[in-house]
Amino acid sequence: MPTDVERWKDEVYGEEIRGHLFEFAEAGWDAIPDEEHDAWFERFKWWGLYHQRKGQESYFMLRIGTPNGVLEPGQLETVAEVADEYARGPADNPEFGAAYCDWTTRQSIQLHWITLEDVPDIFETLEAAGLSTKQACGDSWRNIVGCPVAGKDTHEHVDAWPVAEELHETFKGDDDYANLPRKWKVSVTGCDQGCGQGDINDLAFEPAERDGELGFNVRLGGGLARKEPRFARDVDVWVPEEKVTDVAAAATELFDDYGDRENRYNARMKFLVDEWGAEKVRSVLQEEYVDWELESAGDDLREQYTYNAGGDEHGDHVGVHQQPDGNYYVGLNVLVGRMGVDDVAELAALADEYGSGEVRLTQRQNVVVTDVPEATLDDFLAEPLLENYSPDPHPFMRGSIACTGTEYCSLSIVETKNRQVRYARWLKDNVDVPEGVTDFHVHLSGCTASCAQPQIADVSLRGMKTRKDGEPVEALDVGLGGGLGEHPRFADWVEMRVPADEVPGYIRNLLEAYVAEREERDVPEDRRQRDGDAVEYETFREFVARRDEDALQGLADPEETSYEDPYMHNTKTTWYPYADEDDLDASPAPTDGSGEPLSVDD
């Protein structure tokens, strides 16, 4: 029996949704019949619009898909203008103000408090700048991710940016690929660091050499969502650059035909690969979807991957790095990926002044300003904006990622972004960074949907509830030791329902245990020249990996500290967690296009 979503998609989906969207925008929010809300909200996702959660009716999150995270000159300025004019809601965020932009873990942009009535003007402004919300959400090709400095990276073997661009142009808006069984996430990487995070995508192209030619190996069926994380499986296929689009089309068609449209839980590619195995996936791809002989996998570069591999890494792109053309790219840390709109406008202006105007977004929620000449690099680094968005951040600031959380999201059960900001600041002020640690990743996701990618962090935090002093409070499940690299590893879940205000104390105690118990080892000779030391400590990830479950649970205890958490109450049941009057009854929503409350009986 088809699901409700499949029925709704059969009726109206893809490009045609736009006409309906504009009609509703013209007629106003309350023109959408109540009984059709679920159907239309599901369809609007295809055009990048997610209806915000209970208590925020009539307001939408708007997602702009920027392929490979690339914002061409002038585009960031447009994003700032749109956020400034349209992404202002009825209440301010105490950390970020009245309007801001979120950089996501899939190199996209999210704005909040968007009203339906403004959508036509927003689309016109974005599209005039070459930006689009098309297929940013929904059951189709999502934003294509990859190495954010593709084409500007000395670690690069293949320039994957033209490949990502071609995939974007081919599969966005093509009706044949507009309605898939479920979302379809694709990664393309050409560098030797693994920063495309191909392992957690439905379809991944990773650099590989075959018979002396550089191209891509293909992996299928990765993903983190729900309680079933999978790394993408090697299907033993290598493609030259010119065949990438054909193979991508073939894999998409296979998923379209064989993905489970009767059960959305099972609809992701990872479950089809589970069911069939990589060998059958390859043979079906060969026999039914391509008309040439697929070549077997080439020699990959995975043993060189440093991105989120547990040790020192360049792959998060924070810092100052020289491009092959002699200019520099400067990766700036954006705590939890959120920037106030004035800062976004300033960043756009600085990118224009010092670089080419291009700005790129990373999968660690950070930004990269490219093409800065050596002559003006120091002046750029001295700009006041970089005090808050540092190219050399403290490890706890650098490693912090958070999803949207109960501020706006219908799925989350805990507050996330502001809490993670407070965690990072407290850790920075109160916990010594263990000697030798430059990156320490703490990812906070509000539920099992895993938008903050918690399973691939040193410390994985996932929203839960517990009882403390007799009262229900927000809590987090805790996992340890996840990451990517040559041998990716999902976190081991160690603690359940830790009260949110005891998590910083837990992390402090955990790091103290790591410092006390970690092992030293000889540094391989070829690496000794770099830092001169003959011994080094095992990484936190290695420290976790060699311990069993009982040992991990005995490492540290949660503890109350000087950390204060203003979001311990059930923020899911507020209309907005930071409002002075936060009860659902105090919500002004739904409102008309000008922000005036509408009677719910209208």
Partner: protein, 88 residues
Amino acid sequence: MADRVLDVNAYTTFTLLDGELAGHGWRTDAPAVLNVTTGGDDEVVLELELDNTATDDVPSHADRVALSPGEARDLAAELESYAGRAED
């Protein structure tokens, strides 16, 4: 093992209930997740998971039962009835 089996999000019916694991000769209190959802073939699914960190007596797991719409209504009526008694 501290890894949950069930998804937990804002649509989960109850994310924090007081539960109890019981076997022959043993009982252990544990927080619980209880959820109602739809299954395939016109089913209602009731699923329950008790936090596994509370015990070593059973492996990490969740329990599910499928109910027909009629059975789900019978259950709802029973719950309603017993809720009334509990309040009396």
